[in-house]
Symmetry: C2
Subunit: 200 residues, 2 copies
């Protein structure tokens, strides 16, 4: 891949993620990549096409990372901890990604959510579900719908980052600092979840 092509991809990714599809112009992308506007269309035919490539790349990368994780670990605690860490680590690295993905998934052109992406999540969830069901059968945790548990965990990991601008300003006048909140978030979620699912 040529130097220019790569520079365009890098710039496009940064700006699309930052401003969304509508908020981004190929002029901004070209300027940021230090190339000329015609180059963007030469390599990628159209803005829409360029965006598709970026989007597939963004969640294709996430998905591959998720599948490569090793979840065949001994304890239930460790399994859940791996899930929580995986999400939190990736979101902390690119806090704007969740909002970007959610926004683009909600743009009507439904073909964006491609089958490969969905199969990845399904595969991931099927494995998680089996682990949870085993723990319930072994009476290590209370009976709980694995789907709900999965959704609860994902919600608590991702949502605080979406609302960060609000959280920062709501709690800034209090004894509350945001960066330690993020650092401590993993422990807090583990604590909350394990307390909820244990047999009492």
């Amino acid at each position: 891949m040529s130097n220019i092509e790569q520079r365009i991809l890098d710039s496009a990714k940064a700006i699309f993620v930052e401003k969304g599809y509508e908020g981004t112009s190929i002029r901004d992308i070209a300027t940021e990549a230090k190339v000329n506007v015609a180059m963007v269309n030469y390599y990628f035919r159209s803005k829409e096409n360029l965006f598709q490539q970026i989007f597939m790349d963004v969640y294709g990368t996430l998905l591959n990372k998720a599948i490569e994780e090793e979840f065949e670990n001994p304890t239930l605690y460790r399994k859940i901890e791996l899930l929580v860490s995986f999400i939190l680590d990736n979101v902390a690295k690119s806090p704007r990604l969740p909002l970007f993905v959610l926004t683009e998934i909600n743009r009507e052109s439904g073909n964006l959510v491609n089958d490969e992406f969905l199969r990845g999540i399904q595969q991931f969830f099927n494995f998680f579900e089996k682990q949870i069901q085993d723990e319930i059968n072994a009476r290590n945790i209370r009976p709980i719908n694995p789907t709900e548990l999965f959704i609860n965990i994902v919600s608590m990991c991702i949502f605080p980052f979406l609302g960060l601008p609000v959280l920062e300003r709501v709690f800034e006048s209090r004894d509350y600092d945001v960066s330690p909140f993020i650092d401590a978030r993993k422990e807090q979620i583990m604590d909350f979840v394990m307390n909820s699912i244990k047999i009492s």
Copy 2:
């Protein structure tokens, strides 16, 4: 307020919430309101100004509803249930609102998150925090950081709606239907939360 002015406001609100600021044109708004483009600028001076009015209205309304709620109720369970119901009911009524608000709050023009809005949330949270602290002191629930609890509850209520297009397609091939999920969500969250905070 004139008929035309009101029609513009209604159309603008629907389209802005649906497509976001960048994705909306005043031509679309005018067409939807069955008025001509010049009328939009005559009544609202600019697209930006119209948007500001819509945005303030949207969350001003939410805020007023929240403050009017009666949270001085007897049991802890009922207090939390009121919070959960309030969020879920409002989100179910306008599922696109959370993504809209989050997107616009993250658009750099930070002045959108106005002080009135923040004070409202703070006031709401301060009250919630005090209730939780009292319950902890009375040893009715285990010690837990009220801020974390608040964030956890809000996350579990709102996030599933943001990810609904993904959830629908991830679970459609399974024994899982989305509308009962939403209906049952309140119970599930209550269950999850109460199990987590009770003294074991």
